[in-house]
Amino acid sequence: MTNSVRTAIRDVIRQHGRLPIDVDRLADDDDLFQAGMSSHASVNVMLALEDTFDIEFPDSMLKRSVFESLAGIDAAVGSLQNQPA
């Protein structure tokens, strides 16, 4: 995954994740839910990611491991972008 994608993901988290801390202080593997992201905020993050990357998360990917870290989101976005249209 490129740095521009990671930067875009951090921007989405910053804008929609409602974290009480600076997103730039988070490591890629830090737990976003433990950092303060609510389940409701995770919906907003998901929708914003779909807008940003022109993807759609299937229900099977609406689970904790996908949204609990920047690395998890990064991997999910990558897998969806690589899917054939």
Binding site: H40, V43, N44, L47, D59, K63, S65
Partner: protein, 186 residues
């Protein structure tokens, strides 16, 4: 919180919990309170209290387990999400019936969202992928909320051996909250 016997399929199809009669039923809150260790104490006192004996037997012989889920939603944040994502948010989270019953009111939508999340917690969702629409919160015949499961949520409920789900929702101007109790047979 109301007592409500469950009906529905364990085969992965729609799972529906309907409100029961107004008279309390044995499988609900009392069973919860007196399951596990407390059930033994109930059995020991059952000879002098026949009514208690029934409850204790219910808790012990059926080997029921219970889980609770709770969630709180900030109505202001939900309103912002509606303003920002509009129909995409609504269509992703709510069924047509849920949205119609909520009449687009933020507090009602927040209450239903809290109930969905509380249901996922009560089901001990773990890392299962579950869409929000597969947990539907709609009003029963007596206008009390009830939970209808479908798809992955119904499959998870079947795996957990769920026999009943009960939901209580409260909606305020700033927050909405929901509590869900799951009853399962071991």
């Amino acid at each position: 919180m109301r007592s409500s016997p469950a009906t529905g399929s364990r085969s992965g199809g729609p799972f529906r919990c309907r409100p029961g009669p107004v008279t309390p039923q044995p499988a609900a809150s009392v069973g919860f309170l007196y399951s596990g260790v407390c059930a033994r104490e109930l059995q020991s006192s059952a000879t002098s209290r026949p009514g208690i004996k029934f409850w204790a037997e219910c808790a012990v012989t059926r080997e029921m387990t219970f889980d609770i889920g709770i969630d709180l939603v900030d109505c202001g944040q939900l309103e912002e999400a509606l303003a920002h994502h509009g129909d995409r948010f609504v269509n992703r989270v709510y069924t047509a019936a849920e949205y119609a019953e909520s009449r687009g009111q933020t507090a009602a939508l927040a209450g239903r969202f809290a109930a969905k999340e509380a249901t996922m917690k009560a089901l001990r969702r773990g890392d299962e992928g579950i869409g929000w629409q597969s947990i539907e919160i709609v009003n029963g015949p007596d206008r009390m909320p009830e939970i209808r499961l479908s798809g992955a949520a119904a499959e998870l409920a079947a795996t957990r051996g769920v026999t009943a789900l009960r939901v209580g929702i409260t909606e305020g101007r700033r927050h909405a909250a929901a509590v869900v109790i799951m009853e399962a047979a071991r």
